[in-house]
């Protein structure tokens, strides 16, 4: 089985506990107003628009398929700018065995791997196979960074075969959630419950966007929800910053520092030291 990988970061300190390889899979099923990585949303249509625009000549059109030569690429991301399909020509197909071998080459430096995206659970079967093979051969843990917008049964299977979920909860209020992401959050709450009961809901992450979900009641509701769920899940609050935003909110202001601390305090009153995150621009 092959996975479509957007990129791999050999080691990351912000994608779960300890030292983790972060594997970003291509494809997403939400349409967030503040998306930073719209190029991860769709699969390449091989339209060839990027081929004409690549200044390094790293992209070619071979029999109707766009191919990317990593060795020549300057990394200017011009191809991402011109892509009309929210995709990237720089994705790579990885066989399960090859990815597992690559991870194990560096096992000594890692506590585990984290699948992220895009929305990595769109390729849940690939994750399951990698996780299965990895666990046969090592003690590495597998975490999944997800929006939890996945069919319940599939989500359950996934949770039963990995070590941790880092869940994006964009908003508590259903109307607000739909406005921010284009979808309802009922299924997401279901899945958060599932992950919690299985003991794998490592953390919930919420980006606080000015004028949208930066209301104390929102934060209060999210914190209370987590408190009701269990005694272990962490809440990470992330201040919205427009740097790197390529979607609708690219002109929106950053969340002011005072506002962030106010909301942080609201969450801390409910969850205590289980809340973390910091204000950094």
């Amino acid at each position: 089985m092959r996975g479509i990988v957007n990129k791999i970061i050999e080691v990351s300190f912000i994608d779960g506990p300890g030292s983790r390889m972060a594997i970003f899979l291509q494809g997403c099923n939400l349409d967030c107003l503040y998306c930073h990585n719209p190029e991860t949303k769709k699969y390449c249509q091989n339209c060839g628009r990027c081929v004409e625009q690549c200044p390094a000549g790293a992209l070619t059109n071979l029999d109707g398929r766009v191919t990317w030569d990593k060795a020549i690429c300057h990394g200017c991301d011009r191809c991402l700018e011109v892509c009309p399909h929210s995709s990237s020509p720089k994705t790579t197909l990885w066989e399960v065995e090859d990815l597992v071998a690559y991870i194990l080459e560096n096992e000594v430096f890692l506590d585990g791997v984290t699948f992220s995206g895009g929305e990595c659970t769109l390729q849940a079967d690939f994750i399951l196979e990698v996780s299965h093979k990895l666990k046969e051969k090592s003690n590495l843990t597998v975490f999944v960074d997800t929006n939890c917008f996945l069919e319940e049964e599939k989500f359950l299977t996934l949770c039963q075969n990995i070590d941790g979920i880092m869940a994006d909860l964009k908003a508590f209020d259903p109307v607000l959630h739909r406005k921010l992401t284009g979808v309802a959050n009922e299924l997401i709450f279901q899945n958060l419950n599932t992950a919690s009961q299985l003991g794998v809901l490592y953390e919930v992450r919420t980006v606080l966007v000015p004028g949208l979900n930066d209301h104390p009641q929102e934060v209060k509701n999210i914190a209370r929800f987590i408190r009701e769920l269990n005694s272990y899940t962490l809440l990470k609050l992330i201040p919205f910053r427009n740097y790197g935003v390529k979607s609708y909110l690219k002109e929106a202001p950053n969340l002011p520092e005072e506002k962030f601390f106010e909301l942080f305090e609201v969450a801390t009153e409910i969850l205590g030291s289980r809340v973390y995150g910091k204000y950094s621009i």
Partner: protein, 511 residues
């Protein structure tokens, strides 16, 4: 007087006048340079014409140690013995409490000679002070240790002054790490000896400190104990030497310059490199003999008389640098990028080491009668040549490949080797993750792992630290307390220190 002698005298007088009237130097710097000028008025210790030519060609370099050395370059006194016995010369009895212990150490530090005139080794400070700290209690200890650290920074303002802690978890070790985080001083340099017994909670404290202020280094205790001596210390930058001993001298060989003399790689390995290494050993031995036999250091130093150092724990060091450029010149391969480069790198190191170890090292009893093999980290005047056997700054591959490549090379070096890894600021959120990488690196053979964050106020130069704000002050012409700042400022420019790749980028667009 002969004309030649007369012009030599004139030159020396001019130089002395220049030093005395130099407004960028303070009193202690002037005194140090004047002493060097006096020493260099003597002829160089006797060496062959061939060796002299290697100096002239820029292949050998003695790091401005002086023509007639009168003290070893690095000395690592046995401070434990000093604490147990006191010192007759210093008129000090064995300390009975933390006040006396701190006082005793601060006194003896002033009496430990070195090439920099400052002590380059402060001892295994956590072990030395632990019994007194336990007796004194937390509050008092914190206050006294703070004064101890402040005094070291102010009275011994030199980035090569080096303290060791670990591998055991101690109250003192934890207090020192915490205080260093608060004080944010460039001095002293610190090494943490790390092994399987070092508890994670203590190691994480050290990681947190290093992510703030670029120290301590993590030292591969298991490997160095096995390879060197169970009682070893880390002095100055990355010099691993015996406690109760030290190194007479450090003469280094520029592999890049040497490579230019070779027809091809085979010629380099068979002829050029062995010849240069033999000349290097000759100079080293001449210098060591001068210290012992003519300057009679060991017959006059109270450290030797009172058994705090002993001749049979000393060695000398042969340093190597510019391997990256040497390989690039001879094979066209880039270390870290091209896999075959590693094979050639090992050939170079094996040849140099085998040649060196065939020659008896004068008074090198600390390393089995042979000269120590050392990766020299570079100095401020090196231009376009990479320190030690590191990968050229800015050309580093991914961090895992870099560690694995260098891990293969570190095992050759018994008297010091290192590399520096720069993380981005997200590392501070996850010190446990950093520790995992360090553990992996040590497992892969890295002997000294030093690291820093890209936004740190501190810049690690070759091995010592300088503060960014001090470099700016120096560039504006201010006279500074720390004599290492001017070395650092020149190094940053010449060695492209700031081009080091930031290895772990967490600040991506992950919202």
């Amino acid at each position: 007087m002969k004309l030649e002698t007369l012009s030599r005298v004139r030159r020396a007088m001019n130089r002395v006048y220049e030093i005395i009237t130099d407004t960028s130097l303070d009193y202690k710097d002037k005194r140090h340079l004047l002493a060097a000028e006096a020493e260099n008025f003597l002829p160089y210790v006797k060496i062959s014409e061939k060796a002299q030519n290697y100096f002239a060609e820029g292949i050998l370099c003695d790091l401005f140690e002086g023509h007639a050395p009168y003290r070893p370059r690095y000395i690592l006194p046995d401070y434990q013995k000093f604490m147990e016995k006191g010192s007759e010369y210093l008129n000090l009895k064995p300390p009975q409490d933390l006040f006396e212990a701190v006082n005793a150490l601060l006194i003896i530090y002033r009496y430990v000679p070195s090439i920099t005139s400052y002590p380059v080794y402060l001892g295994q400070v956590d072990e030395l002070l632990e019994p007194f700290v336990l007796a004194a209690g937390e509050e008092l200890s914190e206050k006294l240790l703070k004064m101890f650290l402040v005094q070291i920074d102010r009275v011994l303002p030199d980035g090569f002054v080096h303290m060791n802690i670990g591998p055991k978890d101690t109250r003192t070790g934890r207090l020192l790490l915490k205080l260093e985080r608060e004080l944010k001083q460039a001095v002293p340099n610190i090494s943490l000896k790390y092994n399987e017994e070092t508890p994670d909670s203590f190691a994480v404290e050290a990681v947190k400190t290093a992510l703030e202020i670029g120290k301590p280094y993590f030292v591969n205790d298991r490997e160095l104990k096995e390879d060197l001596d169970p009682a070893y210390g880390v002095a100055s930058c990355y010099n691993t030497l015996l406690i109760g001993g030290g190194s007479f001298t450090l003469v280094r060989l520029n592999l890049k310059e040497a490579a230019k003399k070779a027809r091809d790689f085979q010629d380099f390995i068979q002829n050029v490199l062995p010849d240069a290494v033999l000349a290097q050993a000759e100079v080293i031995n001449a210098r060591a003999k001068f210290i012992v036999e003519e300057a009679k250091f060991f017959e006059t130093s109270f450290l030797a008389k009172e058994g705090l150092i002993s001749l049979d724990r000393f060695t000398s060091m042969a340093g190597y640098f510019g391997l990256y450029e040497c390989l690039e010149h001879l094979t066209g391969l880039k270390l870290g990028q091209d896999k075959e480069a590693l094979y050639y790198a090992e050939q170079v190191l094996k040849t140099a080491k085998d040649t060196l170890k065939r020659v008896p090292g004068a008074y090198c009893n600390g390393t089995g009668g042979r000269i120590g093999f050392h990766a020299q980290s570079g100095i401020d005047s090196d231009i376009d040549v990479t320190p030690g056997v590191r990968i050229k700054y800015g050309e580093e591959p991914d961090i895992f490949t870099q560690i694995k490549t260098e891990g293969r090379l570190h095992k050759y070096f018994d008297t010091g080797i290192s590399d520096i890894y720069i993380f981005d600021r997200t590392a501070r959120e996850n010190p446990e993750g950093v520790l995992k990488i360090i553990k992996g690196a040590l497992e892969e053979g890295i002997r000294v792992f030093s690291f820093n964050t890209s936004d740190s106020e501190f810049i690690r130069i070759t091995g010592y630290l300088v503060k960014r704000t001090d470099v700016l002050k120096y560039e504006k012409g201010e006279v500074l307390r720390e004599d290492t700042v001017k070395l650092g400022a020149a190094s940053i420019k010449n060695n492209n220190t700031e081009a080091r790749k930031v290895r772990i980028i967490g600040e991506r667009n992950s919202q």
